[in-house]
């Protein structure tokens, strides 16, 4: 088993942290995992992405050209990864930040209004966790419970009071994506 995931958005949207949470969840359940950021002279407001590879064997390349799974938290990321996604793959799109629908019909595009859902929960910074929850609907190798445990185990103590809302964000994202899957033609 090997799955590659790219998480992309603006700097400040929690792209890198979202990927780390996924990497922790994979590690804690005994899988091999790599997390690699796009690094460069980047800053808040610029683009950021990270690649997470999860496998049950020694991982080769930590980078992937055509990922089967991706999260696009903004329009530039949607434009970029819609074209790069592997055929048959799943792209989670933050609907709150895009103004167009998908162009490809050989991939699954799951639209999730991450910002609105996060604001309903009461903290717009949780939008990355909403997207992560949605991603899990297409990643059976990592469960919602695994990610919750990873957050609990690795979040710094000073942030522990934020756990319940993070769990809620994950769950809401997951449930929203499930509904989208149910709507999609088989």
């Amino acid at each position: 088993m090997q799955k590659e995931i790219i998480i992309a958005g603006f700097g400040g949207q929690g792209v890198l942290f979202g990927g780390q949470v996924l990497a922790y969840a994979a590690m804690d359940t005994g899988k091999d995992v790599t997390w690699i950021p796009s690094y460069g002279p980047e800053m808040r407001g610029g683009t950021a992405n990270c690649t997470v590879v999860i496998a049950d064997h020694e991982i080769g390349s930590p980078l992937v050209k055509n990922p089967p799974l991706a999260i696009a938290l903004n329009l530039p990321s949607f434009d970029k990864y819609e074209s790069q996604l592997a055929a048959g793959g799943t792209l989670i799109v933050n609907q709150s930040m895009v103004d167009r629908s998908a162009q490809r019909n050989d991939i699954h595009v799951i639209m999730v209004p991450c910002n609105e859902i996060a604001e309903e929960i009461g903290d717009k910074k949780l939008m990355n966790m909403v997207a992560m929850g949605a991603l899990l609907s297409a990643l059976p190798e990592v469960s919602l419970k695994d990610v919750e445990k990873a957050l609990e185990g690795h979040l710094p103590a000073r942030h522990k009071h934020l756990l319940p809302k993070n769990y809620e964000a994950l769950k809401r994202g997951f449930e929203h994506a499930q509904k989208e899957w149910d709507k999609a033609p088989a």
Partner: protein, 371 residues
């Protein structure tokens, strides 16, 4: 120790601390800065020496001084910064004191860029400072290996009184992987019989120098270094093999280029191609003997690097023309994707006759056609 998610650069820093690093001197440069940043907090916390020097020249000469006292000392930098350290490195080699230097390589030459590259292979393995001196060079391909080799580098440097370099590309420095740290070892300062650590009025003065004005003395020094190097070659070669048993095509790649090749090898195997990978862990000493042996079973070698073909020369020296050696590289800070290497494997697997064109020329032609 349980596994934790470690970033390559920080993992190297913590591993060095646990191996008993007593003094660190460095200067910030991307994509290595996290080593220095981490140690700037960690070393003072433990009452150990940390200095952000005024430049790489300052840093390497501080390393030289500390090394003469016999403590575990390290510096780290990235390509342009390491170039600045080369004079000091030669002095350290000439003085026969142990020191560890980490190079998190980036695209070059010149200022280049900050993307992952392997273009300092020749500088680390064959060249660098002036004069005739061997050095140990380790090339980790994962965060765990970076930790293990950091610890090993101090042992090797002391055992052979030699510079030990870790060369890794920016990708390994920046990536996170689950890894296990060794136990924290108390600092154990060895009582080396060469260290200039103060006579306390109890023993004869010692002299450490790299000046041998009489050429016959310098010649003796050079031969002493070479004899010591022979021991390193006999005892310290390390590499890892994947799918080699029945391999007819053998890929040779180190660091990130090696692990990208592993992905390509797995896919090629699924397609029934008998291909394996040899990933050198020590690039100096080089696994020459093992590669030479493999000429008995392989019908072709493919060298993959993130440069224009530097380790390629060492593979060719090991193979000595007995089997064709081909090359695929991405220089300038470009990391190859597995499908690029897979295409090379398929091309070699499907070519009925051996190609005896110069490997680098043939690669350059293919690259030019592509671009």
């Amino acid at each position: 120790m349980p596994k934790e998610l470690w970033k390559g650069n920080e993992a190297i820093a913590e591993a060095a601390v646990r191996a008993g690093l007593e003094a660190y001197f460095g200067y910030p440069i991307t994509p290595q800065t996290e080593v220095l940043e981490y140690l700037s907090r960690r070393m003072p916390e433990l009452g150990r020496a940390f200095v952000q020097a005024e430049s790489e020249l300052g840093a390497v000469n501080m390393v030289y001084g500390a090394a003469c006292t016999g403590v575990r000392v390290m510096s780290s930098s990235s390509s342009p910064g390491v170039s600045l350290m080369m004079e000091g490195l030669s002095y350290i080699a000439g003085t026969e004191v142990p020191a560890v230097l980490v190079n998190v390589m980036r695209g070059g030459p010149g200022l280049g860029n900050i993307a992952p590259a392997q273009s300092d292979y020749n500088q680390a393995v064959h060249g660098g400072g002036h004069g005739d001196y061997p050095r140990i060079v380790l090339a980790p391909a994962s965060v765990q290996e970076a930790i293990d080799l950091t610890v090993l580098s101090f042992d090797l440097a002391e055992k052979y009184r030699m510079i030990t370099m870790l060369i890794l590309d920016g990708a390994i420095g920046q990536m996170m992987e689950p890894a296990e740290m060794p136990e924290m070892k108390p600092v154990h300062r060895q009582d080396f019989d060469w260290a200039t650590n103060g006579t306390m009025g109890k023993r004869e003065r010692r002299l450490l120098t790299s000046i041998y004005l009489n050429p016959l003395d310098e010649e003796q020094t050079n031969l002493r270094l070479l004899n010591r190097w022979k021991e390193v070659q006999a005892n310290e070669v390390r590499y890892k093999e994947y799918f080699i048993d029945d391999a007819e095509i053998v890929i040779v790649g180190f660091g990130t280029a090696g692990r990208v090749a592993l992905s390509a090898v797995r896919t090629a195997r699924e397609q029934g191609i008998k291909v394996g990978l040899l990933r050198p862990i020590t690039v100096s000493p080089f696994p020459t003997e093992r590669l030479s042996q493999l000429t008995g079973q392989a019908r072709a070698f493919l060298v993959t690097e993130m440069n224009m073909g530097q380790m390629l020369d060492d593979v060719q020296l090991a193979v000595r023309g007995r089997v064709p050696v081909e090359f695929y590289g991405r220089p300038g800070g470009v990391v190859p994707f597995p499908d690029e290497i897979l295409n090379e494997i398929k091309r070699i697997a499907s070519s009925p006759t051996a190609d005896h064109t110069d490997a680098r020329d043939a690669w350059l032609t293919r690259m030019t056609e592509r671009v």
